[in-house]
Structures are given as C-alpha cells and as structure tokens.
C-alpha cells in the first residue's frame, strides 16, 4: 500500500516547491531592511541632493481607482477619452532610459504594441506602433537650461526641505516609515499623512533610494482601502549609462510622420510663465490643503464627452448631477454643466456646488 503512495511523492513535492517559491518571493521582497535612521528633513534633503542623471529602468504603474475596466469592451476605437482612461486602470509597464538632461526615452509597453517618447537634445519624437505613426517636435535650443533661482529663495536642498516641511506642517504629518526595498535597492520610506479626515487620501508614501536619493516608488493610499489606489515603482533599475543608439531615433520607413509645431503660448525665453493657479484659471478653489475643491464654470465639459456612452457608463446619478467616483478623487458634474472635483467625499462637492 505504501508503495502506491510513494508514486505520488514527486507530484506532491513539485507542487510543494512551487507553492513555497510563490510564498517566499513576496516575503523576501518585504524582508526587513535596516538603514541608519534619518529624519524627514534629511530624507527630503537627499531627494534634493540627488544627482542621478543616467539610468535605465523598468517602471510599473498600477491603478486601483475603482474605475470600470475599459480594456475589454473598448468598442469606441480611437476614442481619446477611452485611451486616457485606459492609463488610469489596470497595470502598465514602461522602460525608462535617461542620459543627462538632454536625452531620454520612455517606452510604454502594451501587448503586441508600444508607445515611445524619445528626447534627444532639441528633437522630440513620439512613436506609436499600433498606428505606425511618428510625431516630431523641435524644442527651442535653450529649453534644457534651467532658470537661475530667484534671489532670496532657498539655495541648498536642506534649506528647501526645511521650507517645504514648514509649509506642509499645518495640513500634513511627515514621517519616515520602516525602511524598505524597491527594485533590489534599499530605501527610506517617506510618508505624508493628511492631518484632517475630510479627504479621501489616506497617505502618500515615497520610497527614496538610500544611496542616491532617487525616488524609487510613489504609493497613494486611499482611506479605508487595504491596497494602494495608485502605485508607480521601479521594478528594475540600473544607474549605468544607457546605449547612446537608443536616443538616436529615425522614423521607420513607411511610418506616418507628422511635423508638429510647438503650440502657441508655450513658455519661451523671456515670457513669464503664466500662473495657472491665479491668472487665467477660470474656476474657483474652495477649502485648503488636502480638502481643496476645484470648481469649473458651466461649459467646461465638452458636449461630445457627456454624450458618449462611456460617460453614462463611468458616472452615476447623484443629487444635483452625475458623479465620477474613484477611491481617490470624486468629480461632480452638475446638471447645469459645472464641474467640482476634489479628493473629498461627494457631500462636500454637493455643498460646494450649492454654495457656488
């Protein structure tokens, strides 16, 4: 009788090894890391001090905002709204290559498809493998140079960190959580927790590489959820200089090549940058800090968007309008066409709509 059971030992052993492996890998990733303690100021200063400008890595972005998954019934092919929403649902992987300020390449990898952004000096290329379409932009020659800091503004990263913390303090508690590991590198985990409880955001955590000060992961936790609502993290990272040929993009033969001029009104040398918060912004902001509600006047939403079946599918009817609800942000579109958005419960949006 025992001999019969012995025959099944290999099958049981193989399954056990795989199960053990599947359990051990996440455990290993969460293994305790012990770094010398740092205060939030020091960690913020590390970010400011970071001099990393060459890297190649893989980024993974996961959104669990509670939006309907549109990848399945994506009937509206080529719909811009749908493709923008698609980036807000599910998981996306991108490879990033960086060499100095002037050379960068981002590859957003889809199934059997890829979207590329290549920056090489003043040349910017966008390539979409699905349509075999390339778009070319030329930047003004001095776009890469940074404006000199205004006199009186903080100069060193440490000063900047202090100033930032002082500004954040009334609304946000900044702390350093247990050390962690991202993409095989040890990291400090800087956590921003809103002090009030009128917001949907539970906490924002930023993992900062302990060696270089490079942010490796950003997680946004919604209140009352166990898994992060939004996560952007490196899954692989090398600080070596990437192959120079990667940035030398020639549009492939047969591709649709479009030359696009820079849109008018792009900040150029000399013209002061428009202050979008106060200058031309037509809407209103009520509340402060995490609980701010942004209001837009009637007519801000294009009629074609509200007419699309996607709109009806993604929003739900509430008192006074329709609500696009996610775990982090609520957007209320009132019956008269005004828009109120904020990281707050829907009742706050309705109050803002009634008050405005």
């Amino acid at each position: 009788m025992t001999r019969v059971w012995l025959r099944w030992v290999p099958a049981a052993a193989a399954s056990a090894v795989i199960a053990a492996g599947a359990l051990a890998v996440p455990l290993e990733a969460g293994a305790a890391v012990n770094l010398p303690d740092k205060t939030p100021q020091e960690v913020l200063a590390m970010i400011g001090d970071s001099t990393v400008d060459t890297l190649s890595g893989t980024l993974e972005q996961t959104s669990r905002l509670g939006l309907p998954d549109l990848s399945m019934g994506g009937s509206a092919a080529g719909d811009d709204a749908a493709s923008a929403l698609e980036l807000l649902t599910g998981t996306h992987t991108a490879r990033v290559y960086l060499d100095g300020p002037g050379q960068a390449r981002v590859q957003v990898m889809g199934r059997l498809a890829e979207r590329d952004l290549i920056v090489n000096g003043t040349d910017v290329w966008l390539y979409d493998s699905k349509d075999n379409e390339a778009t070319h932009l030329t930047l003004p020659a001095d776009a890469g140079s940074r404006p000199a800091p205004a006199p009186g503004s903080p100069q060193t990263p440490a000063q900047l960190a202090d100033k930032l913390l002082a500004e954040l303090d009334p609304s946000t508690e900044v702390s350093v959580d247990a050390d962690t590991e991202v993409a095989g590198r040890t990291a400090y985990d800087l956590v921003l927790t809103p002090r009030g409880n009128g917001t949907l955001v539970g906490a924002v955590s930023i993992a900062v590489d302990s060696e270089t000060g490079l942010p490796l992961r950003v997680k946004v936790q919604a209140r009352g959820e166990t898994e992060p609502a939004f996560e952007l993290a490196f899954t692989a990272l090398s600080l070596a200089k990437p192959d120079a040929a990667l940035f030398d993009f020639q549009p492939p033969a047969g591709a649709d090549v479009r030359e696009q001029a820079l849109p008018e009104g792009t900040p150029q040398e000399g013209t002061p940058q428009k202050d979008t918060e106060h200058g031309d912004f037509p809407g209103t902001v009520s509340g402060t800090g995490w609980e701010s509600v942004v209001g837009l006047p009637a007519g801000s939403v294009p009629a074609e968007l509200t007419a699309s079946p996607l709109y009806a599918q993604a929003t739900e009817a509430v008192d006074g309008g329709r609500l696009l609800s996610t775990s982090l942000v609520n957007v209320l579109i009132t019956d008269d066409g005004r828009v109120f958005a904020g990281s707050v419960p829907v009742s706050r949006l309705q109050a803002a709509a009634a008050g405005g």
Partner: protein, 289 residues
C-alpha cells in the same frame, strides 16, 4: 508500417546503454512519418500563405490598427508575414496541433496495443514518459518553425524584403530580423511545453486518444477564456497561456528578456507538476494493452 509493434519493440533490447536515445530516435521517426503530423504541419504552413496571398490580392493596403497586429507592415516588409501568422495561430491552431500530439503520446500507444511492447525494457516507464515528452516538445518546435519559415518564404516571394521595423520604431537589418524570428520561434516553442506536459498527463489517464486530445485542447481554450476575465486577475500569472502573446517583447529595442524568463519558469513549473503527475499515474497503471 513504422508503428508496427514488432518493429518498434525490436529496436529496444539490442542497445541497452543508449536505449533512451534509441527510443527517442524511433519516437521521432514514428511521429514525423505519420501522415497526420504532416497534415497538421501543412495546415500550419498554409496560414501564413493565406494571409500573404489575401493581402497581396486586395486592392487597398491594410490600414494600421485594423486586423491582426503587424498586418499593415506586411506590404512593406514580407518578413512580417511569419510574425503575423504566429499571432493568428497562437490562440487556436498551435494549441490544437500540440494537443493532438501530446494527447496521443501514451493513450495512442495503448489504443494501438503497442504500449506493452514499449515497456519490455526494465525501468522503461519513466524513460518512456521522458521520451514521449521530448517527442511532443520536438513537435512544438517543428510546428512553430513551420509557421515562421513558411511565412518568411511566402513573404519574401510576394513582398519586398528590407529592414524590419520593431515595435519600438527602430529598424533592424534583414539578418538580425531572421535572428529575432528564430528567437520568437524559440519563445513560442517554450510557451507550448506546459500544454504538452498537461497533454501527456491526460494521455496517461485514458486509453482513448481522442478523449485525451480533446481534453487538452479544451483546457487550452479554458485557460485563455479565464485569462480574458478581469475578475480573475490574481489567477492570470498562473495560467500557462499567460505569456503566450508576450513573444512581442523580443521585437522591442532593446529586447525585454523578462517575459522570456518568466515564461520559461512558468512552463518549467507546469512541466514539473504535470510530468510528476503523469509519472504517478503511469508507473502504477496496469497496462492491459
């Protein structure tokens, strides 16, 4: 008749030390002398031919973003025909043929009454399972190569051949594109090994080869249906069909090797579990035919 029991069994006892290789050679000979195997390979070879001829005869070139991926590239570069055909074949045709071969491995011999002759060698059962699995793997390679090579040939005959555009928008030379096509063929072969192991296991459960074939094919369809349901996202990385279409990662610049490694690991896991299950079933089985 190559599948004649006496011919096959007669090969075995004479060269005992190298009996595994002998058995493997005889298994390959039987497999590739079968008319059924040739019919399946011909059907697979016909897929790229159909695609190429249809595109060649149509008056307007295919629009980007419509039809199977890469279809619009075919008119610019014939070497894409093989890749387009692979995308078309992976969901159904390739698993179908692999299911037929893998489902037939043990049940077919049992059905023909040749199994007991194959087992005259001492400790022959494990070796027979390994040889049968290797035979199925060889068929996976042959099937994939058939699609890629026939696609490249018909593409070269009907369309211009030149530098190939990768998914990233970079172009590579004809020579490198042949190398990449072979890499893709290797990837797809590895992708099918898990299914072969499942077929081998099901084949040890029955003496009716058609049942084992059908069950294997049904499982490959079920895996893909489950893979399309977003509600089962936690399950997806465990499905043997999960990485099937990720061969496209080999068509990026630079090559993204992660999916190749993940796929190989997943398929090795399936081969280990179902190979061990097949062992557990087969060594205790009473061979009556």
């Amino acid at each position: 008749m190559p599948s004649d029991p006496l011919v096959r069994a007669g090969n075995l006892p004479c060269a005992r030390p190298a009996v595994g290789w002998d058995l493997f050679a005889s298994e390959l000979a039987v497999l590739f002398r079968r008319r059924r195997t040739w019919a399946m390979l011909l059907a697979l070879a016909a897929v790229p031919v159909l695609i190429a001829v249809a595109v060649r005869l149509s008056s307007s070139p295919p629009e980007p973003g419509r039809g199977p991926p890469f279809l619009d590239r075919v008119t610019q570069n014939g070497l894409f025909v093989g890749i387009t055909a692979l995308v078309v074949c992976i969901p159904l045709f390739l698993p179908l043929t692999v299911g037929v071969v893998a489902g037939d491995t043990i049940a077919g011999e049992a059905n023909l009454g040749t199994l007991r002759y194959l087992l005259v060698v001492p400790a022959g059962r494990v070796r027979l399972l390994l040889v049968k699995f290797a035979g199925a793997a060889a068929f996976c390679l042959a099937a994939t190569l058939t699609v890629v090579v026939s696609g490249a040939l018909i593409g070269a005959a009907l369309f211009p051949v030149g530098p190939v555009t990768l998914l990233s928008g970079d172009t590579i030379s004809v020579g490198e594109s042949i190398l990449r096509s072979l890499l893709v063929a290797g990837y797809v072969t590895v992708s099918l090994l898990g299914l072969s192991a499942i077929g081998l296991f099901i084949s040890t459960l029955t003496v009716v080869p058609v049942g084992a074939m059908a069950a294997t094919i049904v499982l490959s369809v079920v895996a893909q249906v489950l893979g399309a349901l977003p509600q089962l996202e936690w399950l997806h990385p465990w499905l043997f069909s999960h990485y099937w279409l990720d061969f496209a990662d080999l068509l990026r610049q630079p090559i993204a090797w992660t999916s190749f490694g993940d796929n190989a690991l997943l398929q090795a896991g399936y081969a280990a579990v179902f190979g061990a299950l097949a062992y557990g079933r087969f060594v205790t089985k009473d061979i009556l035919s």
